[in-house]
Structure formats: C-alpha cells, structure tokens
Chain length 332, copies 2
C-alpha cells in the first residue's frame, strides 16, 4: 500500500487538520469530526448537512460553504459517520429555520441519519431528509437496499444550497432536493480497484484486461465485467442505461457530469465527455451545463461515472447561483 499518510488509523483526523489550515472560510470541530461553514448558523437560512464515509473527497467536506452545505460529517474511510456527529452538526447549523439532511442511499448512512434526525427532533429541531438513489446500475448492492446514491448527490447539494441561500423554507428545499434526485441518473465503471488504508490491500481485483461496468463507489459489484474497450464503448455502456431509465427524451436539456473516480487523469475524462456529447447528440439531448472532474471519488480508483440531470429554468438558475466552497466556486 503506497499512500501519503502518517497512519491508517489517523487519515481522517489528519486530513481535517489540513482542511482547516487550507480553508479559512471553514471551521473544523475536531472532537466531533464535523466541517462547518465558519459563519454557521446563518440567520434565517435552512441549514444543509451531508456526510458519509471518507475517501470520496471532495464530497462532502469540499462542498461546505456559501451556497452549498453548512456542514459535512466525514466517517472513517468508506464507513458511515455516527449519529452523534450528525446530531452535533444539525444542532450547530440550525438557525431555527430547520435542517435538511442530504443522505446517499447506503444502509449505514440512512440508519444513522434517521437516528440523528430523531434525536434532533426530540431536542426541538425541524429536520427533513432527502435520500439520493440515482445509480441505475443495480437495484440492491453490498451496502444498499434499492439503488445507490452517487453523482447526483453533488448536484442536490449545489441546487438545494442555492435554494436555501435565496430564502426557501425547509419543505421547499427538501422538495427541491427530491426533484433533483428524481430528475438525475448515474452509472459508473472502474478500470482498477482502490485500497482502503485500514485494510491495506485492494478492495477487489480486476485483471489487466478487464473493466467493471456499474461499479459502486466503494467497489461494490456492478452489472458485469468485460474486456477493456475504447472510451466510445465505455461511454455507451454508461449513457444508454441512464438515458433509458428516466427516460430522457429528444428536446431535453441536461447537465452532463463526467466524474473521475480518483485515479483517472483529467485528459481521459475529457475524452469521455466528447463521447457523451456524441451519444446525446444522437438522442437530440442538449448539454446545457457541464461538470468534468473528480468530485465524488473512490480514493485512487481509476474509472469514471456519468450523471445526467434534466434541467428546467428553476434548476438551471439555482445551478448558476453563486457558490463558494473548496471544490465548487463561482460568482463570489
């Protein structure tokens, strides 16, 4: 295992020291392991929190800031954060306008966020939850009942963050999150495995000539393995099931998000983006907005995922609204 770490046991706590040192707009509660907007709670604004296992950076800590999350709860690598972390985050960011939990559909995350929401409600907070489940690859998976929550989570965090910033109430921000989840679909693939520091060996094995289509962000099995093909074929393997699932139709405008799993160079993601454009052109689907880069990763896994989000004027305006986080920033 070759990693730039001090100790497999302290990767997350060590990284949080770095996050705090690098980003003066953020504040880190090292005891509870929560990353906050330095100005939380923001008066009158619905608070947004998310969280999940570490190893998917910049998700979620890199999306904390104006126009996006108020707090992120990182668990150990590929391990759910605890209800205690989530409860602390919830009560700290609650200005009285309520708090939205944005939860990827993994059993541990869902269960722990539910417990935190109940405890926060007992303490008097209004809490709503949006569970993302955009991965069309498989219906049930290693850590999930139903579909897994993946790339659309980034878009929910951005768009709900903009909605909250412009004064929408808790029910409206939650409805917005459910709309984004309903209008978005994703699928991923891997060329290589990754190594969880505490495990010290690769999560799974792929031979030198294989790829796995439909992989999960923790290396959960996908739909099938097949011989490594060209980027054009890979893009078709991912885009076709996505387009058919919603279904997206000719005349739709979408946000096209080509995400790197961590170990794939940006130049390759642009090769994939060109193929996604070609395929969508063939369906008469226009790319109105795009995002290309490693935003929801699986440590150093090589591979990519593709997320499409159908856009209307409301979602486009909220996507374009100002955001100031370590990983997504514009307009401010």
């Amino acid at each position: 295992m070759k990693k730039l770490i001090n100790d497999p046991a302290t990767v997350v706590t060590d990284a949080l020291v770095g996050v705090e040192a690098a980003h003066p707009d953020l504040r880190v509660d090292h005891e509870h392991k929560v990353v906050y907007r330095a100005d939380a709670p923001v008066r009158g604004k619905v608070g947004l929190i998310s969280g999940g296992g570490s190893g998917h950076e910049p998700l979620h800590g890199g999306f904390v800031g104006l126009g996006m999350l108020d707090a992120a709860c990182p668990g150990e690598v590929f391990t759910s954060p605890t209800p205690d972390q989530m409860l602390n985050a919830t009560t700290t960011v609650d200005s009285g306008a309520g708090v939205l939990h944005i939860v990827k559909n993994y059993t541990g995350d869902v269960m722990n966020f539910e417990m935190a929401a109940e405890m926060a409600a007992e303490a008097g907070a209004k809490v709503e939850s949006v569970v993302t489940n955009d991965d069309v690859a498989v219906e049930d998976s290693t850590y999930t009942a139903g579909r897994r929550g993946v790339g659309v989570t980034v878009l929910v965090e951005k768009i709900c963050g903009a909605g909250a910033e412009t004064g929408r109430d808790l029910a409206a921000v939650a409805a917005l999150g459910r709309k984004v989840n309903a209008w978005g679909r994703s699928m991923g693939m891997a060329l290589t495995s990754c190594t969880v520091p505490a495990a010290g060996k690769p999560t799974f094995e792929l031979t030198e000539t294989e790829m796995e289509i439909g992989i999960g962000i923790h290396g959960e099995p996908g739909r099938y393995r097949e011989p490594l093909g060209p980027a054009a074929a890979v893009a078709e393997r991912l885009v076709d099931p996505i387009v058919q699932d919603l279904p997206y139709r000719a005349g739709d405008a979408v946000l096209a998000f080509v995400n790197g799993m961590g170990g794939t160079p940006l130049v390759e993601l642009y090769v994939v983006f060109a193929e996604v454009k070609r395929i969508l052109d063939g369906h008469g689907i226009a790319i109105a907005r795009s995002l290309v880069g490693p935003y929801i990763t699986s440590l150093e896994m090589a591979g990519c995922s593709i997320t499409l989000l159908k856009l209307d004027d409301e979602l486009t305006t909220l996507w374009d609204a100002p955001v100031k986080t370590p990983a997504l920033r514009w307009g401010v």
Copy 2:
C-alpha cells in the same frame, strides 16, 4: 495499460473535442490544436499564452479564460507543442498590446517558444517570454538545462492574468511573471510511475516500498529514492529544501500550494497540507493563501509536489482577483 481512451494516437485531439463541448467560454482550433478564450483577442489587453506537453491537465488548457490565459497550446502527451501552434495562438490573441509567452523550462518548450516568438516578431507582434524554473530538486535534468519549471507556472499564469486584466502593459506583465517565478519554489515526489499512452508501459519503475524524492513531472529522476515514509517525513523532504533555497524567513507570508500528481486522492493531499502547515509554523512562516488539488499533474502518477510563493500586497491582490477558467474560478 488501462486508460479511458479510444486510441493512443488520438488522446489529445479527442480530449480537445470534450473540452470544447464542456466549456462554452472556450473555443478550440482543432486544426492547430489551440484552446482559446472565446472572446480573444480582448481589446487593449496583453495576451497571455502558455503550452507544453499534454498529460499535466488541467495545466494549461484548464487555465484559459478571463483573468488567466488567452490561449493554451497542448502538445502530444509529454511532448512540446510546435512553433506553428504557438505562432497561431500568438497572432490570434494579440490585440495590439503584445503577447506574453509563459514557458516551463524544458528544452523543447523553450526552443519552440523562442522560434514562435521570432516568427511572431517578424510578423509585427510584440512578444515577451517568462520562463519558469522553480523546481529546487535538481540543477539539470533529462529534458532540461537548469532547473525545471513546475508548480509556480500555475501561479504565474493566474497572477500575470490578473495583471493583464487590470491593464498593465506587456513589460509590466512580464516583470510580474518574473517576480512570481523568482519568489516561488517547488519540489515534488512520486509513489508510482505513470504510463504515456503512446508508450504503453510505465515510464519508470518504483518498488512497492520505495518513493522518489525530487521527481520531475515527466518522471525525470529526482534527488534520491528511499523507503516510503509517513506523510510527515515526505513533507519535510520537500519543504526543507524549498524554504532554504529562496530562502523564506520568519515573518514571511506565503501561498502554500499542495499539488496532486494525478493518482493521489485529495484526502491524502490534505494530510500533506497539515504537515506543511506544521513545518512552516516551526519556521514562523504564515500561510496567507492556499491551493490544494491536482493542478499540474503527471497523468495518473501517485505523489505530490509542494510550491511556496512568498506574497506581498501586490501578489496577494492579483491572486485574489476574479478568474473564470475550467480549473480555477472565483469572483465571477
């Protein structure tokens, strides 16, 4: 070789199709392989161009846009672009205010940019060049006489871009670039090699227990190999030679840039950033600005580089000025 490409021979041209599809603010000249600001030439503004081998993305194409470069010339992977590309870029972005070439110190890049500058001058353009050579690791290297140009190039492009945007003339923008290069120092390391698509096999070999300190961004040999150590030791190996070289002194404020080589997860870069902060605290050097992420990469190489730039009010103001490029964006 496991890569998301169609053909090793078309990686760069295929990626440029993706760049154009993803970024409506950019325009791609596919014949000459140049990425432009869509609004180039910008009236009255000094034009900024850079370029170099591909495989270091987002450098340079990801830094084209308002407040940074007017054009970028990508060569084949790890191969200098041609004088013809650079000449086309120069004449296209020249509004009459002249053009600055930002060149990393590699023999091929320097020679080709010199030829392009001469041809552009013959055609009536005013051209100045800034050559970056911030890598303290070695004095001469595989493709370089003198020191290599690495991470400071990103900072030169940002700060010169801001200077040009605020109306400085060609001599002033060039002087600014030389100041940033003079005040910045870098050093890198690798845990793994990378594979150039056209070569099909790793550029070099490192055993499972070794790391290379002082590596170049094309895998050029560094200062030494040694057993893989903890992040704290790696950070010391890189920061100590940087701090001693300028030298940086107690009381200095710096921009601290922890760069990922491509295959290293962001969570590890934050672990390294925490160590950089600890070491600089020990020297009484304050981190006034920071940048953490994969900005000048070596395909999928695992490793990192560290760049420090001494800041004064002028450089800080220009660093903070608005920028709108695919890879660096704020204030707009």
